[in-house]
Symmetry: C2
Subunit: 199 residues, 2 copies
Amino acid sequence: MASYNVAPLEKLVEQFERMPGIGYKTAQRLAYYVLNMTKSDARAFSEAIIEAHEKIHYCKICCNLTDGELCPVCGSVKRDKSVICVVETPRDAMAMEATDEYKGTYHVLHGAISPLNDIGPDDLKIKELIARLSGEVNEVIMATNPTVEGDATAMYISRLLKPIGIKVTRLAYGIPVGGDLEYADQVTLARALEGRNEL
Amino acid sequence: MASYNVAPLEKLVEQFERMPGIGYKTAQRLAYYVLNMTKSDARAFSEAIIEAHEKIHYCKICCNLTDGELCPVCGSVKRDKSVICVVETPRDAMAMEATDEYKGTYHVLHGAISPLNDIGPDDLKIKELIARLSGEVNEVIMATNPTVEGDATAMYISRLLKPIGIKVTRLAYGIPVGGDLEYADQVTLARALEGRNEL
């Protein structure tokens, strides 16, 4: 195998291999794909990486990613600034946005409290959230993931906010729409039962 | 959704999405991974793309990828120049190399004859193969894929080479080692029977 290593190719394979969910075989396939790109496409790809890195930073209000001073949500006059939806990652905010139901603003924590991974409250954008809680805000929706870490983070933040007199809510747990009761896990089913609504 | 598009990020997601086997969700995950890289890592990644593109070209003998004048195999005095193993892609050559059994040289066609995809013999490195057939070469092993295209390519090349008096062989078809007869497809099993060897 060793005799076949072409150094610049191996370097590219290594770069891809570091990415989440990409193994050696996939990394190889991607590297070959890059080699087969036209020169201008490869340049565009290379520049897109640098550009994304240089232009994108956190919105100074909600800590979501943006290339402007404010993110499109915080900068919009149409959004309800009295509600803040707290999510773990920018992708979670994107998922909420895709529902087309939510008209408030976001706050991106960039993680969740996880003692096992040595991530404490100070590593998250919690101070930035507290700083936003002027008289205008009257509800904070905790939309962290339904995991141990997400729940712990939601609990931690709700304990901080309740004394200030702000309403803190949590996304509903329950069976997914289109799901199958038979395949729902026990915990989810128990939570769905607990959270049942009158018809 | 639209209000959340951060242009440089979307551009990067699009770049990843074009790659083989990468859908929108994975492309997003990769783009976020790139954003979370350190600045110097992002620069290294970006440069690896350009470098691979600029430094890697075809070996002038076997058409495999290399950053030198000759690939490591063609440039080695230890390899048997009298045997050429013809493969479709550089990755196939790498797979052969990984067996550690083959000591001859390679020839990379960069594809297979496929009328459906408008790929004819002239689109492959067949001329380059013919040009290599000096008196030194006495066997050409067709190691194209066991597919309709690979078989057609092997047949086509063997018909070109046999009149010149060169021995052309084909990799054996059969059941994979460690496989299960029960799950072998009919065609493979029929070929394995056909190619049976005395014990």
